[in-house]
């Protein structure tokens, strides 16, 4: 059957060999022949190279079908730092497929282009639009909550009922009992704008989104004053040393991860810190298998080596950090002008001037006259203890904050840290030296770190490591949460003051999480490892609200949730669910699918999802391209789904009508010194400046023009060409965004010596807040995890590659590439000890609750931990007891300090729901 054309060539060569003899002549001939007539292997006869036209046309027409009749563009506006341009294809009114646009321009020939952006989840969104869990019509529950008995109602009826309740609460001035809140299911300005605007006009409560989800970076805020800090992902390609800490980019930064591995091909050293051998660790140069929750010991041991071996950049530290500031030995407080001059500011600090031998006021702090980091004629000492005279003429012993740090760091040699982290000292010495000497070093630190009790210390110390070694400006930095600024959208989202509440304290109090906290943690363990016992922590929580400035309003009586899955996400799931539902008289959920939170609602309202509306997504600060959502011309929205803007517009109209009918028209909101005008709320909602915004598309157009500074004036026609626009310099919030270079933060500070937005005006590494002093954390230090020893396993939940939180988590195409059902990863030796085999049904439990899943034996997992990826829906588990049902409530004490310069309640300074500080046990389920 095979025709061996090779045979002819071989025969030819054979005769040539005979003719020419075997020597040099033949060798030259062979080379000549290979050049002229390369050996082509063909094993398939001519007959079998023909394909029928019918077959060829079959697949060609299928392909054409997937190219659709009309096309659009869309990113996916979920809790993802990716932000990718997709082209969508419409056929018969439905989206049949999507494909990454993959047309971003290269910014520099030295740096790989960003193509393609978009992952497995985006590639399958089309398949979820018409799935059977799509909410198509407004629904009202007719049974008990969660019973699954629903009746379809009209939009008019649904909105009337919600409006009634809202007007009732507003009339009673119970603004604090009304919650209007958009969760991270929609993270983009047009879609969020609607509910933010409505809630704002009503004075309703909304939580700090990041705190509620446990995604705050207080450790970074302490150092920098803000936490939207990071580089564009192109910078990862340029780094010589990349420390990937508590983050798994191969899994959770899919569109950007290639920059890391391409950088490694360039010779970069990539070090991955993770308790388990995760996909990022397996691609790295060095994996550091850290004991869960001991990151601050790792950090301090690195700092120990850098200080001991003098690997630090003294000049950088001197100028850019508060480490030269003088600290009083008597009480550990910073020396302030109020100590040195009668009536002096308590926000002005001192260094010891080596030139004059005297303490000198430092400029740039919050109370300083000059906003500069320059020292003028002084030269602040970095090291040393000194005796100085205060305003009363008394002699005061002081030391630099750097001396305090040195003293603390001495305690954490790599040998000492090993007892906690399990990491061999040789690894620490090696990495500390490589890190310190790297030309460009970036620490990529993940959201996971602050889900531990001492996450604040670990993140703060990551910032400190970079500061000690001078890795700042274009030499690297901390990469945690960069955001671009598209423009000021305050006019949309905050027309009147809203009740902005702490996310962590809000969920804690609404869910009565102290109950699981009290039952799970042990007083003796807590006292030993944290310096406070349970009562002490609860006192701090109280004080946080009463004294420290954190806002908590009240448990909601009425709640209008937009794309927020709090009943799936919150700790002690079953307990907090009950506590919150008990307080709710009316709970309405706006969603596109039946998630765990929609199932528990009184009223469910169908919304659009990605591909179906208009949006400009440009905040996630890793990719410098803002992506547009514009639906294909032929697209039909399923059922009666509406855009968030239309929903809120219609609701505000109902509120206005209801209010006028009941005569509840102008209600005084004393707390915010404003009148809530219910009789004009519809008019106020649709009026932004001189514009009347009557649809989502019109809001999009308003936003587009408000973003023109950052988008180079891109209009709809420009965006329609490729679905994206390259952002301009003003989009950079902490530095300019250069068109041809990666973005690094804080260039004005590093190069122009402008102050950081901190109390000290510098990268702050000494905090003399009462609580920090009490807990011994005024300077960087290390503390043990507080998960209780009464259960043998640490429990944590890495991000999955199959969902962005719960979005797509239940998609069948995704579940088919996993095990179909939730599973828990356990080390094979640990499993054997428990008599558990791969695939067995197991029960994971502690005093807080239990859950049932399938066991997955995983040799990359340490023996002292079990984990499952996060964001399974509760209804994927037996009895709907989900993966958060075994997580106890707990808050981090270092996140409960406030009213301290920049550490004052605001979107950058709030606490986290801690999700990785519980212990569990596991057993095989007897079938």
């Amino acid at each position: 059957m095979f025709e061996r054309l090779m045979l002819k060539r071989r025969t030819f060569i054979k005769y040539a060999a005979v003719l020419l003899g075997g020597g040099a002549a033949f060798a030259y001939f062979r080379r000549f022949l290979d050049f002229l007539w390369p050996a082509e292997e063909v094993y398939v006869s001519k007959e079998l190279r023909e394909v029928s036209k019918e077959t060829l046309e079959l697949y060609r027409s299928e392909f054409l079908y997937t190219r659709g009749d009309s096309t659009g563009y869309s990113p996916h506006c979920v809790n993802c730092k990716g932000n990718c341009a997709w082209q969508t294809f419409e056929k018969g009114g439905q989206i049949v497929r999507e494909e990454q646009v993959s047309d971003y321009p290269q910014i520099s020939p030295e740096i790989p282009d960003a193509n393609p952006r978009g992952c497995n989840k985006g590639a399958l969104h089309s398949q979820s639009l018409y799935e059977k869990d799509r909410i198509l019509y407004p629904m009202k529950r007719v049974g008990a909550r969660g019973e699954g008995k629903w009746r379809r109602i009209t939009w008019d009826d649904a909105l009337s009922e919600i409006a009634e309740k809202i007007v009732e609460l507003e009339g009673k001035k119970e603004f604090d009992r009304l919650m209007v809140y958009a969760g991270t299911g929609i993270l983009s300005p047009v879609r969020r704008g609607a509910s933010l605007r409505l809630g704002s006009l009503l004075g309703a409560v909304r939580f700090n989104v990041a705190g509620a989800v446990g995604d705050m970076f207080p450790g970074a805020t302490i150092a920098y004053g803000i936490s939207t800090v990071g580089c564009s992902s192109e910078a990862w390609y340029e780094a010589d040393y990349l420390l990937v800490w508590g983050i798994n980019p191969t899994v959770s930064r899919i569109p950007d991860a290639h920059y890391i591995w391409e950088g490694k091909y360039r010779g970069a050293r990539v070090v991955s810190i993770s308790p388990d051998y995760n996909p990022t660790a397996r691609q790295s140069s060095q994996w550091i298998p850290i004991n869960p929750g001991t990151d601050s010991f790792f950090a301090m041991s690195m700092i120990n080596v850098i200080i001991k071996e003098r690997l630090y950049d003294a000049e950088f530290i001197r100028e850019q950090t508060d480490l030269p500031f003088l600290v009083k030995m008597s009480d550990g407080k910073l020396l302030r002008k109020s100590d040195m001059v009668k009536g002096g500011s308590d926000q002005v600090f001192y260094s010891f001037d080596e030139k004059s031998g005297r303490p000198a006021e430092v400029q740039g702090s919050m109370g300083s006259a000059e906003a500069t980091l320059r020292f003028g004629n002084t030269r602040p000492a970095l090291e040393g203890k000194f005796k100085i005279k205060n305003s009363e003429g008394k002699e005061v012993e002081v030391a630099t904050a750097f001396e305090m740090l040195k003293k603390e760091a001495e305690r954490f040699s790599p040998e000492e840290a090993q007892k906690y982290t399990g990491i061999h000292p040789s690894i620490i010495y090696n990495e500390a030296r490589r890190f310190a000497s790297a030309k460009k070093a970036i620490i990529l630190l993940g959201y996971r770190i602050h889900k531990y009790f001492w996450g604040v210390l670990s993140c703060w110390e990551a910032a400190l490591l970079l500061a000690l070694t001078g890795h700042a400006g274009r030499k690297g930095g901390l990469d945690i949460d960069n955001e671009w600024g598209l423009g000021d959208f305050g006019a949309v989202s905050s027309p009147k003051p809203a009740r902005f509440g702490s996310g962590s304290l809000g969920e804690w109090k609404d869910g009565e999480m102290w109950k699981s906290f009290i039952s799970h943690y042990d007083d003796m363990e807590l006292k030993k490892r944290a310096g406070i016992d349970k009562k002490g922590l609860l006192t701090l929580v109280d004080a946080a609200i009463k004294k420290e400035g954190f806002a908590y309003f009240n448990k909601p009586k009425a709640m209008l949730l937009f794309h927020d899955n709090k009943f799936e996400r919150n700790n002690a799931q079953k307990q907090t669910e009950k506590a919150l539902l008990n307080s709710l008289e009316l709970y309405a959920n706006v969603n596109y699918r039946w998630d765990s939170s929609a199932l528990l609602a009184d009223i469910v309202l169908p919304s659009i999802t990605n591909y179906e509306g208009w949006e400009l997504r440009g905040d996630p600060g890793y990719s410098r391209f803002a992506n547009v959502m514009m639906p294909p011309k032929g697209l039909k929205i399923p059922g009666e789904a509406k855009s968030e803007w239309e929903i809120c517009m219609l609701l505000s109209k109902k509120i206005q009508e209801t209010a006028i009918k009941k005569g509840i028209i102008k209600v005084e909101d004393k707390q915010f010194n404003v009148i809530r005008d219910l009789d004009t709320i519809y008019h106020d909602f649709i009026t932004i400046g001189d514009n009347k915004i009557m649809s989502e598309k019109e809001l999009f157009e308003w936003l587009l023009s408000a973003s023109s500074g950052s988008t180079g004036g891109a209009d709809l026609s420009a965006l329609s060409k490729k679905g994206f626009v390259k952002l301009d310099s003003p989009a950079g919030q902490t530095s300019p965004l250069y068109p041809d270079k990666p973005f690094y933060p804080f260039e004005p500070q590093v190069y122009l010596k402008q102050p950081y937005p901190t109390l000290s005006g510098r990268q702050q590494f000494y905090v003399d807040h009462e609580l920090y002093l009490k807990l011994g954390c005024a300077t960087a230090t290390a503390r043990e995890p507080v998960r209780p020893g009464k259960y043998p396993f640490a429990y944590y939940n890495p991000h999955t590659r199959y969902g962005i939180h719960t979005t797509w988590r239940t998609g069948k195409y995704h579940l088919r590439l996993q095990r179909g059902v939730p599973y828990i990863c356990i080390n094979p030796k640990a499993a054997k000890r428990k008599g558990i085999k791969d695939g067995d049904r197991v029960r994971v439990f502690n005093d807080v609750g239990e859950m049932h899943l399938m066991a997955k034996l995983h040799p990359g997992t340490p023996e002292n931990a079990i984990w499952t990826e996060h964001a399974w829906e509760n209804f994927q588990f037996k009895d709907r007891k989900g993966f958060n049902n075994v997580v106890a409530g707990i808050l981090a004490p270092l996140e409960l300090a406030g009213n301290y310069g920049h550490m004052s309640f605001n979107p950058f300074w709030d606490g986290n729901q801690l999700m990785s500080e519980s212990s569990v046990d596991i057993e095989k389920v007897k079938v």
Binding site: L48, Q127, E262, R266, Y277, Q283, I427, L817
Partner: protein
Amino acid sequence: MRQIAMVIDLNKCLGCQTCTAACKTQWTNRNGREYMYWNNVETMPGKGYPKNWMDYNAGWGNDGQLKIGDLPQIPEGYGIPWEYNYENVAEEKDAILKPEKEPEWGANWDEDVGEGEYPNSYYFYLPRLCNHCTKPACLAACPMKAIRKREEDGIVLVDLQKCRGIRNCIRACPYKKVYFNPKRAKAEEGIPGQTEKCIFCYPRIEKGLPPACAKQCVGRARHVGFFDDKGSHVYKLVKGWKVALPLRPDFGTKPNVFYVPPLSPSKFNDKGEAVNEPRIPLEYLKKLFGSEVENVLKILQAEIEKKAKGDKSELMDILIAYKHSEMFKV
């Protein structure tokens, strides 16, 4: 005849399954193909998809004879494309979202597991598709001569005008990348179904687009080109630098999909010190990619070191792939 080929860089593959999703929506989310993954990504060492596909004793023997092996079964070999009871969940108290059958096996069941003991376990990802072989076992095995290899690009496909569902092709393919489609049955003609397989997205190629799996690969791990195009990455990696190796060359089918083998981070000794030994045993990599793999890994390391020093490396520049569009020359 021209031959199109693909190189997959196992150092850049993220295991994200974007290629799998791209192929799924391009071809196999419909028409009886739902259980098929023309492109899949499996974790190695592992059983793969279909389960234990390497142990079916198929392909070309050392004696040049074609081996017709066993047929993988649905569901034991391929798993089931589980369907879910979404409508129950909203409408029934305490209803659990679950597949119609208790899961026992799936296309990616042992994801991220691999082999070895903590902290020295190892794994990597192996994306697989039809290799569009130069000496295809499937083509040789078909008694109806229904499998064809295109003149213009060497793409191998089942001619559905001729296939009678005999399935020798599935038995003969050592990579198990031909699938049976029972929905394509024609009872009146006695045909129980027909076989289908990856078609290298030829309708896309004909329009100048790379295959979906390659173009949509967000790890930027795939290069596509023709062997007679000396300027293509594929030519340079396979024939020039020779760092792209076939999978199981011992099967004898002369595949046209090649792999840049995976490096791995250092192991730990009993004390926890890092030792300069790669985790993935060389013997295992040799079994998969042939004995040249040892040399290839050395070449990769050497070229990385050149770049680290600031010197030029054509190989690293190709693998880094500064311009996505240059990875594909179709």
